[in-house]
Amino acid sequence: MGKCFKKIYRHVASLVIGGTGLILLLPALATAAGGGNIDMMVIVADTRGLPLFESWWANLYNESHVYFTVVTVILIPLIGVIFGTIADFFMKLIGLDLEHRELSEH
Protein backbone atom coordinates (compact mmCIF):
# COMPACT_ATOMS: atom_id res chain seq x y z
CA MET A 1 0.00 0.00 0.00
CA GLY A 2 2.81 2.36 1.02
CA LYS A 3 4.71 1.60 -2.19
CA CYS A 4 1.59 2.28 -4.24
CA PHE A 5 1.17 5.67 -2.55
CA LYS A 6 4.81 6.53 -3.15
CA LYS A 7 4.39 5.64 -6.83
CA ILE A 8 1.32 7.85 -7.14
CA TYR A 9 3.05 10.74 -5.41
CA ARG A 10 6.07 10.36 -7.66
CA HIS A 11 3.76 10.57 -10.68
CA VAL A 12 2.03 13.64 -9.27
CA ALA A 13 5.40 15.26 -8.52
CA SER A 14 6.66 14.62 -12.07
CA LEU A 15 3.40 16.00 -13.44
CA VAL A 16 3.77 19.19 -11.40
CA ILE A 17 7.42 19.61 -12.43
CA GLY A 18 6.59 18.86 -16.09
CA GLY A 19 3.65 21.27 -16.01
CA THR A 20 5.87 23.99 -14.59
CA GLY A 21 8.40 23.38 -17.36
CA LEU A 22 5.62 23.79 -19.90
CA ILE A 23 4.51 27.08 -18.34
CA LEU A 24 8.12 28.26 -18.52
CA LEU A 25 8.18 27.52 -22.22
CA LEU A 26 4.98 29.42 -22.97
CA PRO A 27 5.98 33.02 -23.73
CA ALA A 28 2.40 34.23 -23.53
CA LEU A 29 2.31 33.31 -19.87
CA ALA A 30 5.73 34.72 -19.10
CA THR A 31 4.82 37.42 -16.64
CA ALA A 32 6.89 36.42 -13.62
CA ALA A 33 9.54 38.27 -11.61
CA GLY A 34 8.28 41.77 -11.39
CA GLY A 35 5.01 41.02 -13.11
CA GLY A 36 2.54 43.68 -14.05
CA ASN A 37 1.30 44.84 -17.38
CA ILE A 38 3.55 46.56 -19.87
CA ASP A 39 2.17 48.96 -22.44
CA MET A 40 2.11 47.47 -25.91
CA MET A 41 3.49 50.62 -27.58
CA VAL A 42 6.45 50.04 -29.90
CA ILE A 43 9.71 51.76 -28.96
CA VAL A 44 12.32 52.25 -31.69
CA ALA A 45 15.92 53.03 -30.72
CA ASP A 46 17.59 55.98 -32.47
CA THR A 47 20.83 54.55 -33.89
CA ARG A 48 22.11 57.79 -35.46
CA GLY A 49 25.49 58.84 -34.17
CA LEU A 50 25.96 55.88 -31.87
CA PRO A 51 29.41 54.27 -31.54
CA LEU A 52 30.02 50.84 -33.14
CA PHE A 53 28.93 48.47 -30.34
CA GLU A 54 25.99 50.57 -29.19
CA SER A 55 24.84 50.99 -32.80
CA TRP A 56 24.92 47.20 -33.33
CA TRP A 57 23.07 46.71 -30.07
CA ALA A 58 20.37 49.28 -30.90
CA ASN A 59 19.99 47.80 -34.38
CA LEU A 60 19.54 44.34 -32.91
CA TYR A 61 16.81 45.80 -30.69
CA ASN A 62 15.06 47.41 -33.65
CA GLU A 63 15.28 44.39 -35.90
CA SER A 64 14.31 41.49 -33.67
CA HIS A 65 13.22 41.36 -30.07
CA VAL A 66 13.70 37.59 -30.16
CA TYR A 67 17.44 37.83 -30.93
CA PHE A 68 17.67 40.77 -28.51
CA THR A 69 16.14 38.56 -25.79
CA VAL A 70 18.43 35.60 -26.56
CA VAL A 71 21.56 37.78 -26.47
CA THR A 72 20.40 39.56 -23.27
CA VAL A 73 19.67 36.29 -21.47
CA ILE A 74 23.10 34.93 -22.45
CA LEU A 75 24.97 38.15 -21.65
CA ILE A 76 23.55 38.82 -18.16
CA PRO A 77 24.75 35.61 -16.46
CA LEU A 78 28.00 35.73 -18.42
CA ILE A 79 28.76 39.27 -17.29
CA GLY A 80 27.62 38.37 -13.76
CA VAL A 81 30.10 35.46 -13.66
CA ILE A 82 32.93 37.65 -15.07
CA PHE A 83 32.35 40.50 -12.61
CA GLY A 84 31.79 38.05 -9.76
CA THR A 85 35.08 36.28 -10.52
CA ILE A 86 36.97 39.60 -10.68
CA ALA A 87 35.46 40.72 -7.36
CA ASP A 88 36.31 37.27 -5.93
CA PHE A 89 39.92 37.69 -7.02
CA PHE A 90 40.24 41.01 -5.19
CA MET A 91 38.53 39.60 -2.08
CA LYS A 92 41.03 36.73 -2.01
CA LEU A 93 43.83 39.25 -2.48
CA ILE A 94 42.82 40.85 0.83
CA GLY A 95 43.38 37.43 2.43
CA LEU A 96 39.82 36.56 3.47
CA ASP A 97 38.63 32.97 3.69
CA LEU A 98 35.89 32.83 1.10
CA GLU A 99 35.12 29.13 1.40
CA HIS A 100 34.08 28.63 5.02
CA ARG A 101 31.66 30.13 7.47
CA GLU A 102 32.41 29.45 11.12
CA LEU A 103 29.24 30.74 12.76
CA SER A 104 26.63 28.04 13.00
CA GLU A 105 23.37 29.12 14.56
CA HIS A 106 19.86 29.93 13.52
Binding site: G19, G34, V42, D46, W57, I76, G80, G84, E102, H106
Partner: protein, 351 residues
Protein backbone atom coordinates in the same frame (compact mmCIF):
# COMPACT_ATOMS: atom_id res chain seq x y z
CA UNK B 1 31.31 67.15 -16.83
CA UNK B 2 29.93 65.52 -19.97
CA UNK B 3 32.09 62.41 -19.36
CA UNK B 4 30.06 61.62 -16.25
CA UNK B 5 27.03 60.93 -18.42
CA UNK B 6 26.51 57.95 -20.69
CA UNK B 7 23.95 57.67 -23.47
CA UNK B 8 21.55 54.77 -23.17
CA UNK B 9 21.23 53.50 -26.76
CA UNK B 10 17.70 52.11 -26.44
CA UNK B 11 15.99 54.57 -24.07
CA UNK B 12 17.82 57.48 -25.72
CA UNK B 13 18.52 59.29 -22.43
CA UNK B 14 21.82 60.36 -20.89
CA UNK B 15 22.35 58.94 -17.41
CA UNK B 16 24.80 59.88 -14.64
CA UNK B 17 26.82 56.60 -14.62
CA UNK B 18 28.49 57.00 -11.16
CA UNK B 19 24.93 57.12 -9.79
CA UNK B 20 24.23 53.75 -11.41
CA UNK B 21 27.38 52.26 -9.87
CA UNK B 22 26.52 53.62 -6.39
CA UNK B 23 22.98 52.27 -6.70
CA UNK B 24 24.43 48.92 -7.81
CA UNK B 25 26.78 48.78 -4.81
CA UNK B 26 23.98 49.66 -2.36
CA UNK B 27 21.49 47.17 -3.66
CA UNK B 28 24.22 44.53 -4.12
CA UNK B 29 25.22 44.85 -0.47
CA UNK B 30 21.63 44.63 0.77
CA UNK B 31 20.62 41.88 -1.68
CA UNK B 32 23.65 39.74 -0.86
CA UNK B 33 23.06 40.19 2.86
CA UNK B 34 19.29 39.68 3.06
CA UNK B 35 18.80 37.40 0.07
CA UNK B 36 16.46 39.49 -1.99
CA UNK B 37 16.35 41.18 -5.35
CA UNK B 38 15.49 44.61 -4.01
CA UNK B 39 13.24 45.88 -6.78
CA UNK B 40 11.49 48.09 -4.19
CA UNK B 41 14.78 49.99 -3.77
CA UNK B 42 16.13 50.05 -7.32
CA UNK B 43 13.10 51.12 -9.32
CA UNK B 44 12.64 54.49 -7.52
CA UNK B 45 16.43 54.99 -7.64
CA UNK B 46 16.56 54.46 -11.40
CA UNK B 47 13.61 56.75 -11.84
CA UNK B 48 15.38 59.51 -9.90
CA UNK B 49 18.48 59.10 -12.09
CA UNK B 50 16.27 59.94 -15.07
CA UNK B 51 15.22 56.55 -16.37
CA UNK B 52 11.84 56.36 -18.07
CA UNK B 53 9.57 54.14 -15.92
CA UNK B 54 9.01 51.81 -18.91
CA UNK B 55 12.68 50.83 -18.76
CA UNK B 56 13.29 51.13 -15.00
CA UNK B 57 11.56 47.86 -14.02
CA UNK B 58 13.05 45.75 -16.84
CA UNK B 59 16.56 47.13 -16.31
CA UNK B 60 16.25 46.50 -12.59
CA UNK B 61 15.24 42.87 -13.17
CA UNK B 62 18.08 42.32 -15.68
CA UNK B 63 20.69 43.58 -13.21
CA UNK B 64 18.98 41.63 -10.41
CA UNK B 65 19.55 38.33 -12.26
CA UNK B 66 23.28 39.00 -12.66
CA UNK B 67 23.69 40.31 -9.12
CA UNK B 68 21.87 37.35 -7.57
CA UNK B 69 24.07 35.00 -9.57
CA UNK B 70 27.18 36.60 -8.04
CA UNK B 71 25.69 36.39 -4.52
CA UNK B 72 24.50 32.80 -5.06
CA UNK B 73 28.01 31.79 -6.17
CA UNK B 74 29.47 33.25 -2.99
CA UNK B 75 26.77 31.87 -0.65
CA UNK B 76 27.09 28.50 -2.42
CA UNK B 77 30.76 28.34 -1.44
CA UNK B 78 29.86 29.10 2.18
CA UNK B 79 27.38 26.21 2.06
CA UNK B 80 24.41 28.54 2.44
CA UNK B 81 22.44 27.36 -0.61
CA UNK B 82 20.17 24.32 -0.45
CA UNK B 83 19.84 23.66 -4.18
CA UNK B 84 17.43 20.76 -3.65
CA UNK B 85 15.10 22.99 -1.65
CA UNK B 86 15.56 25.75 -4.24
CA UNK B 87 14.49 23.51 -7.12
CA UNK B 88 11.50 22.12 -5.20
CA UNK B 89 10.38 25.65 -4.31
CA UNK B 90 10.78 26.81 -7.89
CA UNK B 91 7.81 24.63 -8.86
CA UNK B 92 5.47 26.25 -6.35
CA UNK B 93 6.86 29.75 -6.95
CA UNK B 94 6.25 29.73 -10.70
CA UNK B 95 2.80 28.14 -10.54
CA UNK B 96 1.78 30.45 -7.67
CA UNK B 97 3.15 33.52 -9.42
CA UNK B 98 1.28 32.78 -12.64
CA UNK B 99 -1.99 32.25 -10.75
CA UNK B 100 -1.41 35.48 -8.77
CA UNK B 101 -0.66 37.48 -11.93
CA UNK B 102 -3.74 36.06 -13.67
CA UNK B 103 -5.86 36.92 -10.61
CA UNK B 104 -4.68 40.53 -10.74
CA UNK B 105 -5.73 40.76 -14.40
CA UNK B 106 -9.10 39.26 -13.48
CA UNK B 107 -9.51 41.74 -10.60
CA UNK B 108 -8.50 44.60 -12.91
CA UNK B 109 -11.45 43.79 -15.11
CA UNK B 110 -13.72 44.00 -12.05
CA UNK B 111 -12.49 47.39 -10.88
CA UNK B 112 -9.66 49.38 -9.36
CA UNK B 113 -7.22 46.81 -8.08
CA UNK B 114 -4.31 49.09 -7.17
CA UNK B 115 -5.71 50.16 -3.81
CA UNK B 116 -6.46 46.57 -2.77
CA UNK B 117 -2.96 45.45 -3.76
CA UNK B 118 -1.36 48.24 -1.71
CA UNK B 119 -3.47 47.35 1.33
CA UNK B 120 -2.49 43.70 1.04
CA UNK B 121 1.17 44.71 0.68
CA UNK B 122 1.01 46.92 3.77
CA UNK B 123 -0.74 44.28 5.90
CA UNK B 124 1.76 41.67 4.75
CA UNK B 125 4.76 43.86 5.60
CA UNK B 126 3.34 44.62 9.07
CA UNK B 127 2.80 40.89 9.57
CA UNK B 128 6.38 40.08 8.52
CA UNK B 129 7.79 42.79 10.80
CA UNK B 130 5.68 41.47 13.69
CA UNK B 131 6.85 37.90 12.99
CA UNK B 132 10.52 38.94 12.98
CA UNK B 133 10.42 40.99 16.19
CA UNK B 134 8.11 38.55 18.00
CA UNK B 135 10.66 35.83 17.16
CA UNK B 136 13.56 37.96 18.40
CA UNK B 137 11.78 38.71 21.70
CA UNK B 138 10.85 35.04 22.22
CA UNK B 139 14.43 33.96 21.55
CA UNK B 140 15.70 36.52 24.09
CA UNK B 141 13.19 35.26 26.66
CA UNK B 142 14.40 31.69 26.12
CA UNK B 143 18.04 32.72 26.42
CA UNK B 144 17.35 34.65 29.62
CA UNK B 145 15.45 31.69 31.10
CA UNK B 146 18.37 29.38 30.23
CA UNK B 147 20.87 31.71 31.90
CA UNK B 148 18.63 31.99 34.99
CA UNK B 149 18.41 28.22 35.22
CA UNK B 150 22.19 28.02 35.01
CA UNK B 151 22.09 26.27 31.64
CA UNK B 152 24.16 27.06 28.58
CA UNK B 153 22.42 29.15 25.90
CA UNK B 154 21.61 26.96 22.90
CA UNK B 155 23.01 28.64 19.77
CA UNK B 156 20.59 26.67 17.61
CA UNK B 157 17.45 27.60 19.53
CA UNK B 158 14.85 29.79 17.86
CA UNK B 159 12.06 32.02 19.12
CA UNK B 160 9.14 31.07 16.90
CA UNK B 161 9.02 27.35 16.21
CA UNK B 162 6.08 26.98 13.82
CA UNK B 163 8.23 24.91 11.49
CA UNK B 164 8.48 22.15 14.09
CA UNK B 165 4.70 21.72 14.00
CA UNK B 166 4.70 21.77 10.20
CA UNK B 167 7.46 19.15 10.09
CA UNK B 168 5.13 16.78 11.94
CA UNK B 169 2.96 16.51 8.83
CA UNK B 170 4.27 13.29 7.31
CA UNK B 171 2.58 13.41 3.89
CA UNK B 172 4.72 11.45 1.42
CA UNK B 173 7.03 11.94 -0.37
CA UNK B 174 9.32 12.96 2.48
CA UNK B 175 12.56 14.76 1.62
CA UNK B 176 15.89 15.22 3.33
CA UNK B 177 17.15 18.76 2.80
CA UNK B 178 20.69 18.19 3.92
CA UNK B 179 22.10 21.73 3.68
CA UNK B 180 19.16 23.18 5.61
CA UNK B 181 19.18 20.18 7.97
CA UNK B 182 15.47 19.52 7.50
CA UNK B 183 13.45 16.35 7.00
CA UNK B 184 9.90 17.16 5.95
CA UNK B 185 7.16 16.46 3.47
CA UNK B 186 8.00 17.72 -0.04
CA UNK B 187 4.55 19.30 -0.04
CA UNK B 188 5.58 21.75 2.68
CA UNK B 189 8.13 23.72 0.57
CA UNK B 190 5.88 23.34 -2.48
CA UNK B 191 2.89 24.77 -0.62
CA UNK B 192 4.89 27.56 1.06
CA UNK B 193 6.52 28.56 -2.23
CA UNK B 194 3.14 28.44 -3.95
CA UNK B 195 1.73 30.80 -1.33
CA UNK B 196 4.68 33.22 -1.48
CA UNK B 197 4.73 33.03 -5.30
CA UNK B 198 0.99 33.73 -5.41
CA UNK B 199 1.39 36.76 -3.14
CA UNK B 200 4.35 38.00 -5.20
CA UNK B 201 2.24 37.60 -8.36
CA UNK B 202 -0.60 39.61 -6.85
CA UNK B 203 1.70 42.32 -5.52
CA UNK B 204 3.82 42.47 -8.69
CA UNK B 205 7.11 42.00 -6.83
CA UNK B 206 9.98 39.51 -7.11
CA UNK B 207 9.08 37.87 -3.81
CA UNK B 208 12.40 37.78 -1.91
CA UNK B 209 10.93 40.01 0.79
CA UNK B 210 8.24 37.40 1.52
CA UNK B 211 10.16 34.21 0.72
CA UNK B 212 13.11 34.84 3.05
CA UNK B 213 10.99 34.95 6.26
CA UNK B 214 8.80 32.12 4.94
CA UNK B 215 11.89 29.93 4.54
CA UNK B 216 12.86 30.67 8.14
CA UNK B 217 9.53 30.51 9.95
CA UNK B 218 7.53 27.94 7.96
CA UNK B 219 10.20 25.65 6.54
CA UNK B 220 12.69 26.00 9.37
CA UNK B 221 15.82 27.02 7.46
CA UNK B 222 18.71 28.53 9.41
CA UNK B 223 18.92 32.25 8.54
CA UNK B 224 22.07 31.94 6.42
CA UNK B 225 20.62 29.06 4.38
CA UNK B 226 17.37 31.01 3.93
CA UNK B 227 19.37 33.95 2.53
CA UNK B 228 21.43 31.77 0.14
CA UNK B 229 18.51 29.65 -1.07
CA UNK B 230 16.33 32.70 -1.58
CA UNK B 231 19.06 34.28 -3.71
CA UNK B 232 19.11 31.15 -5.85
CA UNK B 233 15.36 31.58 -6.40
CA UNK B 234 15.77 35.30 -7.14
CA UNK B 235 18.49 34.48 -9.69
CA UNK B 236 16.25 32.12 -11.64
CA UNK B 237 13.13 34.27 -11.44
CA UNK B 238 15.28 37.30 -12.37
CA UNK B 239 16.56 35.57 -15.51
CA UNK B 240 13.02 34.58 -16.38
CA UNK B 241 11.85 38.17 -15.83
CA UNK B 242 14.79 39.53 -17.84
CA UNK B 243 13.76 37.30 -20.77
CA UNK B 244 10.17 38.53 -20.50
CA UNK B 245 11.03 42.20 -20.31
CA UNK B 246 13.69 42.09 -23.05
CA UNK B 247 11.18 40.30 -25.30
CA UNK B 248 8.88 43.26 -24.72
CA UNK B 249 11.80 45.62 -25.43
CA UNK B 250 11.90 47.18 -21.96
CA UNK B 251 15.51 46.54 -20.94
CA UNK B 252 18.47 48.89 -21.13
CA UNK B 253 21.39 46.46 -20.99
CA UNK B 254 24.07 49.18 -20.90
CA UNK B 255 22.63 50.49 -17.62
CA UNK B 256 22.26 46.94 -16.26
CA UNK B 257 25.95 46.24 -17.03
CA UNK B 258 27.10 49.47 -15.35
CA UNK B 259 24.97 48.64 -12.30
CA UNK B 260 26.39 45.12 -12.29
CA UNK B 261 29.92 46.56 -11.93
CA UNK B 262 28.87 48.12 -8.62
CA UNK B 263 26.65 45.18 -7.67
CA UNK B 264 29.54 42.71 -8.15
CA UNK B 265 31.45 44.52 -5.40
CA UNK B 266 28.34 45.11 -3.27
CA UNK B 267 27.10 41.51 -3.56
CA UNK B 268 30.48 40.19 -2.44
CA UNK B 269 30.54 42.53 0.56
CA UNK B 270 26.94 41.69 1.51
CA UNK B 271 27.45 37.94 1.13
CA UNK B 272 30.76 37.85 3.01
CA UNK B 273 29.29 40.07 5.76
CA UNK B 274 26.85 37.22 6.61
CA UNK B 275 29.96 35.34 7.76
CA UNK B 276 30.50 37.82 10.56
CA UNK B 277 26.95 38.47 11.72
CA UNK B 278 24.83 36.01 13.68
CA UNK B 279 21.58 34.77 12.20
CA UNK B 280 19.50 36.87 14.59
CA UNK B 281 21.48 39.98 13.67
CA UNK B 282 20.43 39.44 10.05
CA UNK B 283 16.82 38.91 11.13
CA UNK B 284 16.71 42.16 13.13
CA UNK B 285 18.22 44.20 10.26
CA UNK B 286 15.75 42.55 7.88
CA UNK B 287 12.87 43.46 10.20
CA UNK B 288 14.00 47.10 10.17
CA UNK B 289 14.14 47.07 6.35
CA UNK B 290 10.58 45.71 6.26
CA UNK B 291 9.38 48.46 8.64
CA UNK B 292 10.98 51.10 6.38
CA UNK B 293 9.32 49.59 3.33
CA UNK B 294 5.93 49.54 5.13
CA UNK B 295 6.35 53.17 6.20
CA UNK B 296 7.07 54.25 2.61
CA UNK B 297 3.85 52.56 1.46
CA UNK B 298 1.93 54.20 4.31
CA UNK B 299 3.26 57.59 3.18
CA UNK B 300 1.98 56.92 -0.32
CA UNK B 301 -1.41 56.08 1.19
CA UNK B 302 -1.46 59.36 3.14
CA UNK B 303 -0.61 61.17 -0.10
CA UNK B 304 -3.65 59.55 -1.72
CA UNK B 305 -5.97 60.33 1.23
CA UNK B 306 -4.84 63.96 1.40
CA UNK B 307 -4.07 65.05 -2.18
CA UNK B 308 -2.74 68.42 -0.96
CA UNK B 309 0.22 66.54 0.55
CA UNK B 310 0.49 64.08 -2.36
CA UNK B 311 3.80 65.32 -3.80
CA UNK B 312 5.31 65.84 -0.37
CA UNK B 313 4.40 62.31 0.73
CA UNK B 314 5.63 60.72 -2.54
CA UNK B 315 8.95 62.54 -2.29
CA UNK B 316 9.27 61.69 1.40
CA UNK B 317 8.64 58.00 0.61
CA UNK B 318 11.44 58.04 -1.99
CA UNK B 319 13.80 59.82 0.43
CA UNK B 320 12.92 57.26 3.13
CA UNK B 321 13.64 54.31 0.81
CA UNK B 322 16.96 55.76 -0.38
CA UNK B 323 17.90 56.76 3.19
CA UNK B 324 17.10 53.24 4.35
CA UNK B 325 19.22 51.72 1.56
CA UNK B 326 22.15 54.01 2.53
CA UNK B 327 21.84 53.30 6.27
CA UNK B 328 21.56 49.53 5.83
CA UNK B 329 24.42 49.44 3.31
CA UNK B 330 26.58 51.41 5.73
CA UNK B 331 25.73 49.05 8.60
CA UNK B 332 26.59 45.98 6.49
CA UNK B 333 29.80 47.51 5.08
CA UNK B 334 30.97 48.44 8.59
CA UNK B 335 30.17 44.93 9.85
CA UNK B 336 32.13 43.53 6.92
CA UNK B 337 35.17 45.75 7.63
CA UNK B 338 35.09 44.91 11.35
CA UNK B 339 34.75 41.16 10.69
CA UNK B 340 37.42 41.13 7.98
CA UNK B 341 39.85 43.03 10.23
CA UNK B 342 39.28 40.55 13.07
CA UNK B 343 39.71 37.58 10.71
CA UNK B 344 42.97 38.96 9.28
CA UNK B 345 44.25 39.73 12.78
CA UNK B 346 43.50 36.12 13.85
CA UNK B 347 45.30 34.83 10.78
CA UNK B 348 48.34 36.95 11.55
CA UNK B 349 48.45 35.66 15.13
CA UNK B 350 48.30 31.99 14.06
CA UNK B 351 50.85 32.52 11.22
Amino acid sequence: MEWLYVLMPIAGVKIFWPGLIILGIGVGVIGGFFGMGGAWMVTPGLNILGFPMAFAIGTDIAHMAGKSLISTMRHGKFGNVDYKLGFIMLVGTIVGFEIGAQMVMWMERLGNVEKVVRYIYLVLLVLIAWMVFHDVLKKRQKDRAAIKAGKEVDALSTGIEWHKTLHKLKIPPMVHLNVAGIYCSAWLPIFVSFLTGWLAGILGIGGGLIRMPALIYFIGCPTHVAVGTDLFEVMISGLYGAATYSFKGRIELVAAIIMLMGAAIGAQIGSVATKYIKGYGIRIAFGLAVIGCALSILMKFIGKWYPAYGTLMDDSATVLILGLVSALSLYIILAFIKGAKAELARKNVTA
